[in-house]
């Protein structure tokens, strides 16, 4: 099963600069892909196109070689295969009940209550939410909310999962939880595409990286190669400052640290 972008162009109506120009990409089953690039480089647009929320102005999004149909049926098909989790989980949970929030997707796909319930429980199990299903959404921690948002998408049983900076605001423990879930999905042959600014994470987690730059695919290939190329483009001030800090902390800083009363 593959998800393809062939020469996709997209511009937002109000903006003069195109958000995506001539993107040609192919995602195969079971790939762990990091999507990197600056803010505004087109990562989110790519995800919205993958899920059919946006329609390409030119070019086509294809599922198994078939161009996506943008009618109700076609979109439901696409969305049952391609799931998107957005950056802020807080904004994606519409219900105060985790259980009910998770049930939205399966019911939208037309599953019966019994099947939908099974899917909800399965997704909740995957995301370690089974004991939180009765908890109100507003009582969840940030990591739990991220897992709930993820489970809401997984309950639809997607073969391709796009996660837009989902791990960004999470502490290392919560992030490890999310990465474990990704690992499970990958083992099942699901493709996971993670947009991230965390290049260390991208390098260690992904096999492949796609670098978007001002709406174009700048590089696409093995994660270490793409990220090395990307690192050379980082602003010099950043690497300079980090080197001096590593080598020798300024005297004032170390003195200040010692003076902190305990």
């Amino acid at each position: 099963m593959t998800l393809g972008f062939s020469d996709v162009h997209f511009s937002y109506p109000a903006l003069s600069v195109p958000a995506l120009t001539g993107a040609t990409l192919r995602f195969a089953a079971g790939e762990a892909v990091a999507l990197v690039g600056r803010n505004g480089s087109g990562k989110s647009t790519l995800m919205l196109l993958a899920n059919g929320i946006l329609r390409p102005g030119q070019g086509a999004v294809t599922l198994d070689g078939q161009a996506v149909r943008y009618d109700r049926r076609g979109l439901l098909d696409l969305r049952s295969q391609v799931g998107v989790v957005f950056q802020n989980p807080e904004e994606q949970l519409f219900s105060a009940s985790v259980y009910q929030d998770l049930s939205l997707g399966p019911l939208n796909l037309g599953f019966s209550s019994v099947e939908a319930r099974e899917r909800v429980l399965h997704a909740a199990g995957r995301c370690d939410l089974l004991n939180l299903l009765d908890r109100p959404t507003h009582a969840l921690s940030g990591g739990e909310k991220a897992r709930a948002a993820l489970a809401g998408v997984l309950a639809m049983g997607p073969r391709f999962l796009f996660a837009d900076e989902l791990t960004n605001s999470l502490d290392p423990w919560m992030r490890a939880n999310v990465l474990e879930i990704f690992a499970d999905l990958l083992a099942d042959g699901c493709t996971v595409v993670l947009a991230t600014h965390d290049h260390a994470l991208a390098a260690s987690w992904a096999q492949r990286a796609v670098w978007l730059d001002a709406g174009r695919v700048r590089a696409d290939g093995p994660a270490d190669v793409v990220l090395t190329a990307l690192r050379q483009q980082l602003p010099p001030a950043f690497s300079h400052r980090r080197q001096t800090a590593d080598a020798r902390p300024p005297a004032a800083v170390s003195a200040g640290l010692n003076e902190v009363p305990l």
Binding site: G83, N108, P136, M156
Partner: protein, 241 residues
């Protein structure tokens, strides 16, 4: 708000089907309003406090404090009913102050005491419902009662986003507080207006992003969800078997 909501999710009756709890409170309200005697209200008060403490297992201190607060406000409230005011002397014992005559009659006292007991009982019934039943369960009940889906969706969204907007509201207030935004009246008004406007913009943008996220989950208008499974009282199960 957080207190009541938290108790609603963490008491012995949380998982009990909301129909029983709404039924209890409704019965109590009917008794309070239907029987114009202070005894009705006071016995409802006692019963609802008992149910809240003994059946739902809520901390008695919290339940009693809530009722006591309401009682003290009510005591003042019924004063307006107990005392009549007029520009001329009436047949009742009068106290004159300036152009006004104040009087108390057995009738007004009776009305006031019925009202006091009734409102106290009614408030206790509401407290019982609010403290034992999560809003989600009440919305589930309304859904089962075939309230239009659109109304159910609005309730679901309003309840959910009240909490997220309160969070944003807290952050915005703090941001103004640390910049001395509430130092005097003028500044407070400006800060309040700023927060009010920003919160609106935030609510609007949130609704857009939620739209995207829900579209991605195949949403096309109605927010279909599965109802929760609720418990039924043990005696009922025994009867059914």
């Amino acid at each position: 708000m957080q207190h009541i909501d938290r108790f609603a999710y963490a008491n012995r009756l949380t998982r009990l089907h909301p129909a029983y709890k709404v039924g209890c409170s409704a019965l109590a309200l009917v008794l309070c309003l239907g029987v114009p005697h202070p005894a009705a209200g006071l016995s409802v008060l006692a019963a609802m406090l008992m149910l809240a403490i003994a059946w739902a297992g809520l901390p008695s201190a919290f339940v009693l404090k809530l009722a006591l607060g309401e009682a003290s406000f009510l005591a003042l409230g019924v004063l307006g009913v107990a005392v009549s005011v007029s520009t001329s002397a009436s047949a009742m014992p009068n106290v004159r102050m300036g152009p006004l005559w104040f009087s108390v009659s057995p009738d007004t006292l009776w009305t006031a005491s019925v009202l006091f007991a009734r409102a106290l009982g009614g408030a206790a019934a509401m407290n019982f419902l609010a403290l034992t039943t999560p809003v989600v369960a009440i919305v589930d009940l309304l859904r089962a009662l075939r309230v239009p889906a659109l109304l159910i969706d609005l309730m679901t969204l309003i309840y959910r986003f009240t909490f997220t907007l309160f969070d944003s509201f807290g952050r915005m207030t703090l941001a103004h507080e640390v910049r001395l935004g509430f130092r005097d009246g003028r500044r407070s008004l400006r800060s309040a207006a700023d927060i009010g406007a920003n919160l609106f913009v935030e609510a609007f943008r949130r609704s857009r992003r939620l739209d995207l996220a829900l579209q991605g989950r195949g949403w096309d208008g109605a927010l279909r969800v599965l109802p929760h499974a609720y418990d039924h009282p043990r005696w009922l199960n025994r009867g059914a078997r």
